[in-house]
Subunit: 395 residues, 2 copies
């Protein structure tokens, strides 16, 4: 049998990060390449108790088919959270529960982007969504990042120069992979530019609650009086990623089409997980839980940065994120980043080569991503020490 | 803001069935339009006990990210089930856990079908998958059903006459919506024709375990020495649909590409659900459970058919399925089926107009689908009596 693969999938490779993770599932490898939440941030006791209650009291609701839009009480709870906790006026927006934030990027592409149309992203950006965009056979164009967010002049230029720009994808808080937070001025400028050119903004905020320093900034969605922002939230970081539950808040015409798209993909999201998260949001002290996990991430990021300050040569630069899971290191001019990552892996420390996160994976890149949420404290100390020794050998 | 929707989604309407279900969520309406498993078929006690054990003993496995291919012990358990219970040699096939069988149709389309390529389906067929195929902007062509399965001469003709036929979608057991089972001779003929013309067979078997009369027939996948069959199984009917867990068994090159596609859609399937089903398959008497639910469906289908024999005029024909959830009624020549369904709904009995299941939704159709798994016994008796009265008034 000869297999004819579709154009959209023929050249799409598995996520480099996930392949690295599989290759480094060896417990001897120090997992700076991962993106997993810290296991001690999971509300294990609450989830176990709530799951038991649901399966004792309302098992059929948890086991039967449900509607594509999502479990109504969860949608209500998310609307409240979005208004009260994130200060986003819900306005005329619709809301759909999705099977993880990734599905939001998928559905936005599905309903808005024809093959050959353009999607703009920050460069670098989250590989999972870049691969998703590629799977729609679009023209994927990266716009350079600066220390306070995307270069907005280049964003407008890219909108003007490319054909049918349908989406601009941004992670304004503690971006993956760079850890960069987009300034409020740039958030407003992004909104202004996209509104002017009729480009939908896909605002992905999986890490927003994991802020451990600096002041909260308003989301781009909070400016959205004109209906051009699809805001995607996730419960992967504040509850648990294995549940695969997120949500999208967007103008109702977009949510209606995304619902049709989701019906074609998975009918609806796992019901028990939706019900557990609804109870978790409404019956536990979610603010205390978020404060607790932000403190875990603050401590771990501080530890990694302190180790880096001690061990890495001054010629290596790194970001200092105000939240999230990642920091981004850049080697000195002339360095061979792939070679560095390769030798680091030989010495049992896994980091992710920066090229994995570029719209054009063949562009030059001297950076790599480090994650501080997955490794234990001891692994952070030991891993940074091994990397420091290697860096001092090479540069 | 003006929204430019993609071509693939602009003309796609929400599933007529799901819209009817929403409209008839009124508890006074008798739900012959649904497709829900009978709630008393759910293994509530087992699921509650297993979920409790997992969250007490291995909570982090259930809550953390996992690999796209699916939870390894579940994949092993499904391989065993497929070989031992369904008599399908696993051969060189790969296996991926998916978020319900629907995602199997989605991923098969994603990896095999370019826009404008042809997908063939039985006519009528399952609306959820038809809409999924439409969402890939393909040329969707229906091939007429006969009482023992698709018309194989017309299948071959459709393959020859249409451009780039990439997939033939079939539900060989107790098809949705007709309840028809494809004969063994036709299964072998379908395989021969598709092999000859290099067309991949997408064999969807959500109802196969729900056989309550007649002898089991070999799946098309069991003939597949040439690697052209993607076999999709579901736990929605034998465990619970709210969990959204299914699997696809296919040649490894196809599974590898489907895995890349799934990574872009939802990263992986809900972990707790995967772990619950693994324990259910390996630690409970699954054969006894299947026998129990098949008996529930046998009794309910018998009740509905007995009521129909008593209440419907002889000019109305219906299928007598050997399993599954549905039967298919056809009104006499000249009848206005849509008008019948409309009046039935006014009298608080919901059935699904047959056109919902046609590749060409504008084609003439005198049939409607009735479900016997969702309504209570009393509702079956009362609903068929109301429909019978209406039919005797009209025909």
């Amino acid at each position: 049998m000869t297999y004819h693969f579709s154009d959209r999938i023929a050249n799409l490779q598995p996520s480099l990060v996930r392949e690295i993770l599989k290759a480094t599932s060896n417990p001897d490898v120090i997992p700076f390449a991962a993106g997993n939440p810290a296991p001690d941030a999971f509300p294990v006791q609450d989830v176990a108790r709530i799951a038991g209650e649901i399966l004792a009291e309302r098992p059929i609701d948890a086991l039967q088919y449900s509607i594509t839009e999502g479990y109504s009480p969860l949608r209500d709870a998310v609307r409240s959270m979005v208004e009260n906790h994130y200060k986003i006026p819900v306005r005329e927006n619709g809301l759909i529960i999705i099977s993880g934030a990734q599905q939001g990027a998928d559905l936005a592409s599905k309903v808005l982007v024809n093959e050959g149309d353009t999607i703009l992203c920050e460069n670098p950006s989250f590989i999972g969504c870049l691969n998703c965009f590629r799977s729609y056979n679009c023209n994927l164009v990266g716009v350079e990042m600066e220390s306070d967010g995307v270069d907005t002049a280049k964003l407008e230029q890219a909108i003007v120069e490319n054909r049918n720009v349908r989406l601009f994808y941004t992670i304004p808080n503690f971006q993956n992979p760079t850890g960069i937070t987009t300034s409020e001025a740039k958030r407003r400028e992004i909104y202004r530019i996209c509104k002017k050119h009729n480009v939908i903004i896909l605002e992905d905020n999986p890490y927003g609650d994991l802020r451990f320093s600096g002041a909260s900034l308003p989301s781009i969605k909070s400016f959205d009086e004109d209906g051009l922002v699809i805001y995607i939230g996730s419960f992967s970081k504040i509850v648990a990623p294995g549940m695969r539950v997120g949500f999208a808040l967007a103008p109702q015409p977009l949510i209606a089409k995304m619902t049709v798209g989701k019906q074609c993909e998975d009918v609806h999201t796992n019901m028990l997980a939706q019900m557990i998260i609804e109870q978790f949001l409404t019956k536990t002290d979610i603010e205390a839980h978020i404060a607790k996990i932000a403190e875990i991430y603050r401590r771990k990021s501080r530890l990694m940065l302190d180790c880096i300050a001690r061990e890495f040569p001054a010629s290596v630069a790194q970001t200092e994120p105000e939240g999230g899971l990642f920091l981004w290191c850049t080697l000195p001019e002339g360095a061979d980043m792939m070679e560095f990552c390769r030798i680091a892996a030989q010495r049992n420390v896994a980091v992710v080569p920066g090229i994995a996160f570029l719209a054009d994976e063949k562009a030059p890149c001297r950076s790599f991503r480090m994650n501080f949420s997955t490794p234990t404290d001891e692994a952070i100390v030991r891993g940074v020490s091994i990397l420091g020794e290697l860096l001092r050998e090479l540069y």
